[in-house]
Amino acid sequence: MDVKVGVLALQGNVSEHIDAFVLALDRIGCGHSSSVVTVRHPADLEGCHALALPGGESTTISRLIDKNHLYEPIRNFSGGIFATCAGMVLIATHVDDARINTLNLIDMTVDRNAFGRQRESFEADISLSDIDGGPFHAIFIRAPVATHAGAGVTVLSRLDQGIVAVEQGKHMALSFHPELGGDTRLHERFLKIIGV
């Protein structure tokens, strides 16, 4: 199968997500039959099997999604969505900030900046259920958490402050940044879920 992964490129950590997906596709042996592209307009989503929502400023990205007429196309996207940090805020059903127009794709309530400000940002080895290869070195930067997840949501990891990794159907949401650490196990798992 020729795999096409889109990365929402409105603001934030875009090039790192592209690099991480290229690496993950290479590692599962799909390097030659795949492409990773940027998504800035609705037409860019055509033919994509997956879409990454990168980290950045969720209030800014939410506004730019609306401005670029991407809200409905992403909501109705037929592929899987890989959402990290700000992406996790956007993909939720409920967020503690009315200014964010959530995509309502994963049934959870998310608190922004749940650990505090940048000085409270941290790196830690966390355990992820159902993932081989030991703990995952996770980078949390002004990270959100889910305070509640619906019955249809699988929780992969939870810290004292709340839930930090979830799956629902073809979608995955993480409050940390797997694109920064070089560990692509979560990318590979996501690609498997969407049928690669």
Partner: protein, 298 residues
């Protein structure tokens, strides 16, 4: 999870934070009301300071870190990251801003330098720093001291983009030049520009600076901002350009859109219409030597 298993203030966290700002506009604000306008317009972060650069020029005297009360009011007013400026070398102003919870510190030539010999030892802090630079050597010296983000200096408070262009072209051009060099030539070049050889080699390998590089100092219109993006900036700082224009709300939104669509002239044309007057500009050649900010720190 036990607290001792967490690691705070690492290089990866600092550079990662800077990376999240990419493609964004960071706006200078002097109070909570301006901070809200900036956030509403789509700024990725705000920079808190006592006075915008064009007012610093007019006032003269010593320009210092903002009043902590103002910084706290700004932090309380918005949910996006809040940055703050300190004087070059003034590590105690930096300690104060870190204590207040500022998300990134700008060791800035726009304020009056506190130390003409040394910059702040930025590796001692948990909070990341951004520093100004005019060329590759200066950028790499700051990165070597621990800066997690570079901004080309330009000439702040002038509303004149010419120096921002010069400095961005310097850095991008020098990196392009490195690609044609072998290791020996790079080491020699590193000596010439007074930068660590390993950082010069890293730039050559990556084809870019090892940290995010924003543009600053003179951006006054949506076209200015988009030009800096096309020249290779990862994002822009707008200082006086927003709140010294006749309609800050409109100007702020237009600059955010122009940065987002920096390669689409038709969008830039649309958002630039009917914005009112941009900030009044200054011809760089009319500045006296002691009025030039970019030569502070090297």
């Amino acid at each position: 999870m036990k607290l001792e298993e967490l690691r705070f203030g690492t290089e990866l966290l600092k550079r990662g934070f800077a990376s999240m700002q990419k493609g964004g506009v960071i706006m200078d604000v002097v109070n909570a009301e301006q901070a809200k306008i900036a956030e509403e317009a789509g700024a990725v972060a705000v920079m808190s300071l006592e006075r915008v650069p064009s007012d610093i020029r007019k006032m003269g005297g010593v320009a210092r870190m903002a009043d902590p009360q103002k910084v706290i009011e700004i932090i309380d007013a918005v949910s996006i990251p809040v940055m703050g400026k300190v004087r070059i070398g003034h590590f105690v102003e930096a300690q104060v801003l870190e204590t207040l919870g500022v998300d990134m510190i700008d060791e800035s030539e726009v304020l009056t330098p506190a130390d003409e010999q040394y910059h702040i030892d930025k590796k001692l802090f948990k909070v990341p720093f951004v520093c100004g630079a005019r060329d590759l050597g200066e950028a790499l010296r700051r990165i070597n001291e621990g800066a997690a983000m570079i901004r080309t200096k330009g000439e702040a408070g002038t509303g004149n983009v010419v120096e921002a262009v010069r400095h961005m072209r310097n850095i991008m051009g020098e990196i392009r030049m490195l690609k044609g060099m072998d290791k020996q030539e790079m080491t020699d070049y590193a000596r010439d520009i007074e930068a660590p050889a390993e950082l010069v080699i890293e730039c050559a390998e990556r084809g870019r600076l090892p940290v995010v590089n924003f543009s600053a100092g003179g951006i006054a219109t949506p076209s200015d901002a988009a030009m800096m993006m096309q020249l290779g900036a990862d994002g822009v700082f707008v200082g006086s350009g927003i709140f010294k224009s006749t309609n800050p709300e409109l100007m702020a939104k237009a600059i955010v859109e122009a940065v987002n669509h920096f390669n689409e002239p038709e969008v830039i044309a649309r958002v630039s219409r009917g914005l009112g007057d941009a900030m009044p500009g200054l011809d760089i050649h009319t500045l006296r030597d002691d009025e030039v900010l970019q030569t502070r720190g090297r």
